[in-house]
């Protein structure tokens, strides 16, 4: 729980302007680590993906993963950065058991990518996000603190270390202060990180899964009185694990800082921890005790000097920005702006694209992903792409409907079965015998039975009350276990009663 005083967001905005700074760590999806050939596969048994180098054993030496450099440059180019002609790694020295060498091999004053910018849109309004740098570094191991009540190091009996993640390549992308966003600040931050996620996914260099930690965001924010040009004291919020929480955490910090400043207090420069469950931030390490990292150029590695030819080759591989990509897609899809915004917010663009590519109409693809499947994803609190169903599957289901083999209602059953892992839609329809009964003798028998059992309703229909047909259709469908084409049943009922 938070016991912090909060100020109403709109009130804060009347007196203060927020300034943002975002540090995003992206874990690259290279097969091997940054400085050794160990696997980067997620989820292996602890300490099974290690070697003398990533364990920092005495005498071991790093060798740079060329693929990681390529990925870093491509990310830099996608963010419109300049690419360094000559740069070095640097050692960031600090003691912590998750760092096997007690220094992190990173970059300091010579980042590989620098001075970029990207544009994001919030409610139709464009915002420029200036990029300070994107640099390469290695990830640390993971500690697990045992025996305490909080799972944190304070109060733990002992800690376990897993170094599988030690040495996994990271790109850290740092913005310059983002100013003049006004009350949109939290939404701009969210849009920016969303942009990074989509762009980097399109580059194919990272899984960018916030919930798995392959994209991590540290959100800095400060407030300055309206009209001032001097930045206020900032806080840095960590553990923000979804796009939604970036927005919520920043909103919370703005309200908290607003309350402090408006009552004449001073914001403490510190790291804060976001609590997703209670939706609040709490104080972490104070930056006043900040360590001196004693950076110096890494003597075990030679400088990196990417040739201009190589950079230009890589530039040619950069996909168009996600917004341009989406606008291009919607030219053929023809969704309304509102529909498209919902699709984007639901992260369904790629899924609908795949479904359309597999043969479904855009409207049908949108219908399935944005209703039935979105409901399922929301119910399980997972993202759409984590549902165990592909665009091909959805297109196949739609094909079965269009060819009259199954009804809309049966289609829902088929989708349930695909999600349950029973196989492809066609296979499920066959295995379960779900195809519509088109044998008119069987169907006519069912219609006759229902008419005979409901003389009153039959009479009403004869008298011209068409809306009564529905009741009889329903009963026929029930008798056929849903495996009949409702339109055809309707025709047969009317024909039977007319004769």
């Amino acid at each position: 729980m938070s016991y912090e005083e909060l100020m109403d967001y709109d009130e804060v905005m009347e007196s203060y302007d927020p300034a943002l700074g975002l540090e995003v760590h992206v874990e690259l999806n290279t097969h091997s680590k940054m400085f050794c050939s160990c696997s980067t596969q997620f989820g292996a048994e602890p300490n099974t993906q290690t070697c003398p180098t990533c364990l920092g054993l005495p005498g071991s030496l790093p060798v740079v993963n060329a693929k990681a450099i390529e990925s870093a440059i491509r990310i830099g180019l996608a963010l419109n950065c300049s690419i360094s002609t000559w740069c070095r790694f640097a050692r960031k020295n600090y003691f912590y058991p998750d760092m096997t060498k007690n220094f992190q091999t990173s970059q300091y004053d010579e980042p590989i990518c620098f001075d970029g910018q990207v544009e994001v849109e919030v409610d139709g309004q464009p915002f420029i996000i200036p990029i300070e740098r994107a640099h390469m570094e290695e990830d640390a191991g993971k500690s697990q603190h045992m025996g305490g009540t909080t799972g944190r190091i304070q109060g733990a009996d002992y800690s376990l270390m897993d170094y599988n993640r030690a040495g996994v390549p990271l790109i850290e992308i740092v913005t310059k202060p983002i100013m003049a966003t006004g009350p949109q600040a939290p939404a701009v931050a969210r849009a920016y990180v969303g942009f990074l996620r989509d762009m980097i996914r399109a580059l194919g260099v990272s899984d960018v899964r916030m919930e798995q930690g392959s994209l991590r965001c540290d959100a800095n924010v400060s407030l300055m009185p309206k009209g001032s040009t001097t930045l206020g004291t900032r806080t840095e919020t960590k553990n923000v694990n979804s796009l939604r929480s970036i927005e919520k955490a920043l909103r919370f910090e703005i309200c908290r800082q607003g309350a402090i400043l408006s009552s004449g207090g001073q914001v403490v420069q510190e790291t804060r921890h976001w609590h997703e469950d209670g939706a609040y931030t709490s104080a972490g390490r104070s930056k006043e005790e900040a360590e001196d990292y004693r950076y110096f150029p890494e003597p075990d590695l030679v400088p990196i000097a990417p040739s201009r030819e190589w950079v230009e080759e890589l530039r040619a591989t950069i996909p168009e920005p996600p917004a341009v990509h989406i606008a291009g897609l919607n030219k053929t899809w023809g969704f309304s702006d509102l529909e498209m915004r919902d699709v984007v917010n639901a992260e369904a663009v790629d899924l609908i694209h795949a479904t359309v590519e597999a043969g479904a109409s855009p409207q049908a693809a949108r219908k399935w992903w944005m209703t039935e499947l979105l409901r399922r994803a929301n119910a399980e609190s997972i993202s759409l792409e984590d549902l165990p169903i592909s665009g091909e599957h959805v297109a196949e289901v739609q094909r079965l409907i269009d060819s009259g083999l199954i009804s809309d209602k049966i289609a829902r059953q088929v989708i349930e079965a695909v999600l349950a892992g029973e196989g492809s839609p066609t296979q499920i329809v066959e295995d379960r015998g779900l195809t519509l009964v088109s044998d008119s003798v069987t169907l006519q028998k069912a219609v006759d039975d229902v008419i005979e059992a409901n003389p009153d309703i039959a009479q009403k229909i004869r008298e011209g009350k068409d809306q009564a047909t529905g009741a009889l259709i329903g009963q026929v469908m029930k008798q056929m276990s849903g495996q009949a084409d409702a339109a055809k049943v309707r025709e047969m009922i009317i024909a039977s009663l007319a004769s």
Binding site: L57, P58, G59, L61, P97, R294, V302
Partner: protein
């Protein structure tokens, strides 16, 4: 026939290849000598007798079966304890690594194994190679075989003393500021620091990454060349390793011809602070080379006097970072973990107990030099000096082929003499440090004895990747000196021993 322990490595190689002796006999002879004399000399921290004999028998079998073997196959070698060797402890002369068995081989170690050489054991050294006397070893000092009350140099005193006491025909050293060459000088042996990047640093426990370089130690120039050939070459595991062919050092050592060669005498390396007999032996060596047809020039390297100061900022800075990993968490010593102490306390207690005074001094120096607010004045300025020293060398090598100087300003001092005077200790490396800062190659060979009957060494310096020039000059000078002496300098010790 000379006894097996007094034979050169080249002689042993010939005896082995012609089947006159077996590797088992050669190995056993050296293990017997270790058993006889190492109680006094203390050149070894660990003797790997059983494995050495097993390996020797295997090599003998291979030879009997007609396998094509390398030139030094079956020849024993001692390995400085800074190199990892699976199955043997690696301590670096430090308590903090006591009992650590590395799970991998250094590239240099692997090359010795692949060449079918017989690793006798791990030789003593100053803790983490920090020192010029081996007195900083946590396991006790090594004594100079010429006079057991004197130091054998450092940090590689164990490797040098093992050669001078005939406990190995060849040893491996590592040179950060003179740790191969200064021990060679004070023990009357040959030591080579190859060009930075010539031999892989993978598996050499780092002291200062930008300065460390493995190299061969031997009793004569040709033996050093043969070992040089075995351990050098490109290694993809070391990013700073040179990807080029190793110069033909063996052919160069056999040339014994310096006619027309331009030799530069470094003006700044001599004079005040140098023992007169060190300067006298140096002068005599130069005269011999001049008589043999070399051109002698005096050259100035104006920034060399600043080298020692720059070195004592750059080296400790790298040390402070490289030695941070010894924190009791993953391997080696752990002190003060009684279940109630915090991780930080255990790290602090262990480092306090596990590191010796000199190591702590350098960690503190380096931490200070890299601190924010001091970085530019210390580490930053030192790097500028380093650039100036490189420039001095570059300019000098535009006019001469090699540079020469004494290896160390003095002969071996007595154990304990400089223990409380770090600056005096550091000055032992005055002549060797510029080469480490610039990354070029250098060699020390014996030049005779001082008035105290202790050996004096002379240093030859060559441009980067000009290692063959060292062997050409060293081989020629060695032949000239031995003509004058009537045999190797160490022959006197060999005779005494017999």
């Amino acid at each position: 026939m000379t006894s097996l322990i007094h034979a050169t490595a080249a002689e042993l190689a010939d005896l082995l290849s012609t089947g006159v002796v077996s590797s088992e006999e050669v190995t056993r002879a050296h293990l017997d000598q270790i058993a006889d004399v190492d109680g006094e000399v203390h050149a070894y921290l660990y003797v790997d007798s059983d494995r050495a004999l097993d390996t020797a028998r295997q090599v003998d079998r291979k030879r009997q079966q007609g396998e094509q073997l390398g030139r030094l196959a079956g020849v024993p070698v001692g390995l400085k304890d800074a190199f990892t060797y699976m199955g043997a402890p690696t301590t670096c002369g430090s308590k903090i690594l006591e009992g650590w068995y590395p799970p991998y081989n250094a590239t240099v170690t692997q090359k010795l194994i692949d060449a079918d050489m017989i690793i006798l054991g791990k030789t003593n050294m100053d803790e983490f190679a920090m020192g010029s006397s081996t007195e900083n070893s946590a396991y006790g000092p090594t004594c100079n075989p010429w006079d057991l009350h004197r130091i054998p140099g450092g940090s590689g005193g164990g490797s040098a003393a093992a050669l001078a006491s005939f406990q190995a025909p060849l040893t491996i050293g590592s040179d950060t500021g003179g740790s191969i060459r200064q021990p060679a000088a004070v023990t009357g042996t040959v030591g080579v620091k190859p060009t930075y990047g010539a031999a892989s640093r993978y598996g050499l426990v780092a002291m200062a990454s930008s300065l460390d370089q493995p190299g061969p130690c031997a009793r004569n120039v040709m033996d050093a060349a043969l070992l040089h050939e075995v351990i050098c070459g490109h290694d993809p595991k070391d990013s700073t390793s040179i990807n080029a062919e190793v110069p033909n050092v063996v052919a160069a050592a056999a040339t014994k011809d310096v006619r027309g060669l331009k030799i530069g005498i470094v003006k700044e390396l001599g004079g005040e602070g140098y023992e007169p007999e060190v300067l006298a032996r140096f002068r005599e060596a130069i005269d011999l080379l001049a008589n043999a047809g070399a051109e002698i020039h005096e050259v100035s390297c104006p920034h060399f006097p600043a080298a020692l100061g720059a070195y004592y900022l750059i080296m400790p800075s790298e040390v402070s970072s490289n030695l941070a990993r010894f924190d009791a968490m993953r391997y080696g010593l752990r002190v003060g973990d009684d279940g109630s102490t915090s991780t930080e306390q255990v790290m602090r207690t262990t480092r306090g107990a596990g590191f010796g005074a000199e190591v702590k001094r350098r960690i503190i120096l380096g931490t200070y030099a890299l601190s924010s607010g001091y970085y530019d004045a210390y580490y930053g300025s030192a790097q500028k000096v380093r650039t100036l020293i490189i420039r001095d060398f570059t300019q000098a090598f535009e006019t001469v082929d090699v540079l020469m100087s004494p290896t160390s300003p003095t002969t071996a001092f007595t154990i304990g003499e400089r223990a409380n005077d770090p600056i005096a200790m550091y000055k032992a490396d005055l002549c060797t440090i510029p080469t480490n800062l610039a990354g070029n190659a250098a060699m020390s060979i014996p030049a005779g004895l001082g008035d105290n009957s202790m050996p004096v060494g002379v240093q030859i310096m060559a441009p980067p990747q000009g290692d063959d020039r060292l062997y050409r000059v060293g081989g020629a000078l060695e032949a000239l000196l031995q003509d004058k002496w009537g045999g190797p300098l160490l022959g006197t010790l060999a005779k005494e021993a017999r």
